[in-house]
């Protein structure tokens, strides 16, 4: 089963990494302290910027919910729920668009990068590739 559905297994693993990453950012955001993130700096500029919150909800928490949804759908797809695999496509598409927008904000508006946000963007791009593969394989 896993052998034929490996793109979904990969998607599930990637979404778990994304979930852990966005949960970490959620906790950091809620704590509001200055965190020692030394690779690129900029975490607190990004996490305390006005873009880090949508309607009072930390963006990182929205990300966590999205990754959890991807994980659920991918798991269901592995177990043969075809609809779940199809639903994964629009969800990941929205996540990719969101990641691109956030990358733009970090690069040109806030002018600070936060490495955990970049990791999330990388995971989302990975998810896109995997979901496209699954689509092509027709599973």
């Amino acid at each position: 089963m896993i052998r034929t559905k490996w793109p979904y297994a990969l998607a599930a693993l990637l979404s778990l990494a994304g979930l852990a990453d966005s949960l970490y950012l959620t906790v950091e955001h809620l704590e509001g302290r200055s965190v020692p993130c030394s690779v690129t700096g900029g975490c607190e500029e990004v996490l305390t910027s006005s873009y880090a919150v949508i309607a009072g909800i930390p963006l990182a928490a929205v990300g966590a919910a999205a990754y959890f949804s991807v994980f659920s759908l991918a798991t269901l797809a592995i177990f043969g729920y075809r609809t779940a695999g199809i639903l994964l496509r629009p969800l990941v598409a929205v996540m990719v668009l969101m990641s691109l927008w956030l990358f733009y904000l970090q690069a040109f508006v806030i002018r600070a990068f936060c490495q955990f946000c970049l990791l999330s963007a990388a995971i989302t791009i990975g998810l896109m590739i995997v979901v496209l593969l699954a689509w092509k394989k027709g599973i």
Partner: protein, 238 residues
């Protein structure tokens, strides 16, 4: 059973995710965190009450430490701060207000904990320590915090700190030498070592009689209550 398996896996991951967030925010004692986590999801979870952590002693920091207030004051507050960190800048006036309100009952210590993620944190800490070598640590400390937004955006903040040195009447040439001195470096190193030994990982981290105050309780209103509690415990409350 097989049909249920994916749902069991999904629920398991959900449980681990919620559990870890609750654990992390609670271990950092965040009531605010609990409330917001509730908003972002529909999972109900108890709102943890932030409380002081058990007292820790840690290894000694730089001596003599930079302090305010009488050494035998019933309440001793120790801040580990980074001059470039925005919440530390916000905490500065709060602490000043507490010192004004509690006067002789409060003893305040400032310890350097410059974070690697801040470009100017070490130059700022060095400037404050160098001013301390001419007996004006607190004057420099106040200027650096009060003008945080002016120097943190600069490419090189040192000339600004030298300007502050002049402003508070330091021997600027000596200040410039002291900033790069081994003594200043050693002081910062010792403070950071003390911070690490007390489990400090972020700024500002504030201890009241060696008990760590949860970050959420640092606003003036909650901090005042904590100080009053400690005073009451020490039996000196009027």
């Amino acid at each position: 059973m097989k049909r249920l398996l994916p749902f069991i896996i999904i629920l398991g991951v959900l449980g681990v995710a919620v559990g870890s967030v609750v654990y992390l925010t609670r271990s950092n004692s965040g009531s605010m965190a609990g409330v917001n986590a509730n908003q972002s999801s529909s999972w109900s979870q108890p709102t943890p009450q932030p409380t002081l952590k058990p007292a820790r002693t840690g290894v000694a920091g730089a001596e003599p430490a930079h302090t305010h207030g009488p050494a035998n004051a019933p309440v001793k507050l120790e801040e580990f701060g980074d001059f470039e960190c925005p919440p530390c800048g916000m905490f500065h006036p709060i602490l000043q207000q507490m010192e004004k309100e509690f006067g002789d009952k409060l003893h305040v210590t400032f310890r350097e904990f410059p974070l690697a993620s801040h470009q100017h944190a070490i130059p700022a800490a060095s400037a404050a320590e160098a001013a301390g070598m001419q007996g004006k640590f607190w004057e420099m400390h106040a200027l650096i915090f009060e003008h945080q937004n002016e120097w943190k955006t600069q490419f090189d903040a040192r000339p600004i700190f030298e300007g502050y040195a002049k402003q508070i009447g330091l021997d600027v040439e000596r200040f410039k030498r002291d900033v790069d001195s081994d003594r200043v470096e050693q002081r910062i190193f010792l403070d950071v070592r003390r911070a690490r030994s007390m489990g400090v990982g972020s700024t500002p981290t504030v201890f009241i009689n060696n008990k760590e105050i949860p970050f959420q309780l640092l606003p003036a209103d909650s901090l005042r209550v904590l100080i009053q509690d400690e005073l009451r415990a020490a039996g000196t409350q009027k």
